[in-house]
């Protein structure tokens, strides 16, 4: 990866069409690699989730032509909430296969084009429309059911979930690209309006308008363009059955740092865990040679559409054992070491998770989200957070290897990619 750019995520951007927002992110990315002229770009990949939000089919080509990337190759990648992560990997595939020396991944979503509750309906159409959607299709409801089972299996608490929100909102205070920048407390989260029990308004990410761009190149091209490229050393993609009701109840897929005796009485994945996330992580770890993720990864940008899913994802990524996600945040491990969150934390900063503020605070313009995570991770590894955010509070001291995680449906598509210092 040689560069990245984002538009500021906002609740609504009526001043710009999706093409214009992509152009902002694209120019942002090009601005960081002045040696890259568009004639060196061999093609692009488009990431956007819902045709309903744009009310425009083939929106991908409209962004491609706006960027001036015709007649080069382009295609659209789609996989719900994981669209951005899948697109990032598609761009990596284009380069890794040798088809392109330089490929642009761009993503966007214009969710403000409909009212919030219509938007929720569009998102819920990404659940089985014969058996799930008609019952009361609502993703917050689905995630609430999953976390209620997680609570039942493992004793996860609502306060532990709220801590995720405190952390991610707190981090976003120092990220000018984030949509929501405010300091909150565990009490604020629990006192916020209930959306789907036990998830409150502050347990859930918000809809956004926004765009993000990543530029990937092979090693030779990369070093011609920048002195500080980031290497993609592992990719993994997992899937699971669309309907939660169909998920099997079998055995845990073990990470290298786990053993069968860790999980004697646990049926897996059920509806409490994301098998696709575990599968994606293990593929990426194998490829990157990671056997002890907690110690071998410096930071994580993961898909926290819900505070609960961040906790569930700690477990899928094997940062802790299944069932240990609640305690993992309570002890402070995923907090940033230098930020004051207004609470006492015993083991702060073992592995910062969502230093950018995540989806909960940055916003979730679906097609842009997975690419936004890659851009923030790229800046972390380059050590350029200070320059890009206007202040260095979120720059981690050690950020040589990061993990990005993109997640769709009720855990139906999940991608994990490992990014490392490449110079």
């Amino acid at each position: 990866m040689v560069s990245g750019g984002v538009s500021k995520f906002a609740k609504a951007r009526p001043d710009a069409t999706f093409q214009k927002m992509v152009k902002e992110a694209f120019d942002h990315a090009l601005g960081d690699v002045p040696r890259l002229k568009t004639d060196r770009i061999d093609g692009s990949v488009a990431s956007y989730f819902s045709d309903h939000f744009t009310r425009q089919l083939m929106a991908g080509i409209m962004a491609t032509d706006y960027l001036g990337l015709c007649p080069k190759p382009n295609k659209r990648i789609e996989g719900g909430g994981a669209t951005g992560g899948l697109c990032f990997q598609a761009a990596w595939e284009s380069v890794a296969s040798g088809r392109m020396n330089c490929c642009v991944a761009f993503g966007f979503e214009t969710m403000s084009r409909v009212q919030t509750w219509k938007g929720n309906e569009f998102i819920a159409l990404a659940s089985d429309v014969n058996f799930d959607y008609p019952v009361g299709g609502f993703y917050s409801g689905y995630y609430a059911m999953m976390v209620n089972r997680h609570i039942h299996e493992f004793g996860t608490t609502l306060e532990q979930m709220a801590m995720v929100s405190v952390k991610n909102h707190g981090n976003a205070c120092f990220n000018p690209y984030a949509q929501k920048r405010k300091r909150i407390t565990v009490q604020d989260v629990r006192n916020a309006e209930m959306v789907a029990y036990p998830l409150t308004l502050l347990d859930i990410c918000v809809m956004s308008d926004g765009a993000a761009v990543c530029i990937l190149a092979d090693e030779e091209t990369a070093f011609q363009l920048t002195d500080r490229p980031v290497r993609i050393t592992g990719v993994g993609t997992g899937t699971d059955m669309m309907r939660m009701a169909d998920r099997p109840r079998g055995k845990v897929i073990l990470a290298p740092n786990e053993k069968e005796s860790d999980y004697r009485n646990l049926t897996y994945p059920g509806v409490h865990s994301f098998r696709a996330g575990r599968s994606a992580a293990l593929q990426a770890y194998r490829m990157a040679g990671i056997t002890d993720p907690l110690r071998e990864i410096d930071f994580v940008e993961l898909h926290d559409a819900y505070t609960s899913s961040e906790i569930q994802t700690y477990e899928d990524l094997a940062l802790c054992r299944y069932g240990g996600g609640g305690r993992f945040i309570e002890e402070g491990h995923p907090f940033l070491p230098r930020i004051d969150y207004g609470m006492k934390l015993k083991k702060k900063g073992t592995i910062p998770v969502n230093p950018s503020g995540g989806l909960i605070a940055c916003g979730h313009p679906v097609g842009a989200t997975g690419l936004m995570q890659a851009v923030f991770a790229f800046w972390q590894i380059q050590g350029t957070i200070g320059r890009h955010f206007g202040s260095g509070e979120l720059q981690l001291k050690k950020a040589e290897r990061g993990l990005i995680h993109s997640h769709a449906g009720t855990g139906t598509y999940v991608t994990v990619s490992i990014l490392e210092r490449g110079w």
């Binding site: 009526p14 001043d15 710009a16 009310r55 009212q115 509750w117 219509k118 929720n120 309906e121 998102i123 819920a124 429309v129 014969n130 058996f131 799930d132 008609p134 019952v135 009361g136 299709g137 609502f138 917050s140 409801g141 609430a144 059911m145 999953m146 209620n148 089972r149 039942h152 309006e193 209930m194 959306v195 789907a196 029990y197 036990p198 059955m241 309907r243 939660m244 009701a245 169909d246 998920r247 099997p248 109840r249 509806v271």
Partner: protein, 185 residues
């Protein structure tokens, strides 16, 4: 256009300039302001228009149709893979484990809450029904779950995992999965 040419094409009663008939349909704004100086146009606020959109589908349940016909007849149907000895509460005509075709089978009409939530908000289509309760139902001897509404409780504090529930059916079938719902047993 020169004055001379303009005179030549002057409309007559029989022959007028072609043009659309002016109607009020769809017109929402009159006299849209516009600057004399085009260089100020980039500062113009964006124009946002309403655009309604509705579609009527002829939606086929295909191979899952017997499930809905069952609900209309107060029967709860799942499917079973004999070789795998695996029963699907939410039906699927093919077993993903072995690829074989499954057989229709009647499910028990009593089950337990596997997990639950109460939705205070929802998608636009269901907003008017809030708050409503969603449960995943588990049945004895059945390997997968069924998503349904729980009726007859007032809030999440009245629902617990493992609680017994029984199926009820709408008298007037809508041929939707909501033709079956559950109440505390």
């Amino acid at each position: 256009m020169s004055k001379k040419r303009a005179r030549l094409t002057k409309p007559t009663a029989q022959h007028r300039d072609p043009g659309l008939e002016e109607v009020m349909t769809g017109t929402t704004v009159f006299n849209v302001p516009f600057p004399a100086d085009l260089s100020t146009l980039k500062g113009m606020s964006p124009l946002v228009i309403r655009f309604p959109y509705s579609v009527e589908y002829l939606h086929s349940y295909g191979q899952d149709s017997p499930f809905f016909a069952g609900l209309a007849n107060r029967k709860l149907l799942g499917t079973r893979c004999g070789p795998c000895q695996y029963t699907y509460a939410t039906p699927r005509l093919h077993c993903p484990a072995c690829g074989r075709e499954t057989d229709w089978t009647e499910l028990p009409q009593q089950g337990r809450v596997h997990t639950f939530t109460t939705c205070y908000y929802g998608s636009e289509e269901f907003l008017k029904e809030t708050p409503f309760h969603l449960i995943l139902v588990e049945f004895d001897g059945v390997d997968t779950l069924l998503l349904a509404r729980l009726i007859g409780v007032s809030g999440p504090e009245e629902i617990r995992i493992e609680m017994k529930v029984k199926a009820k059916f709408r008298r007037n079938s809508q041929l939707k999965t909501t033709d079956v719902y559950f109440v505390p047993a």
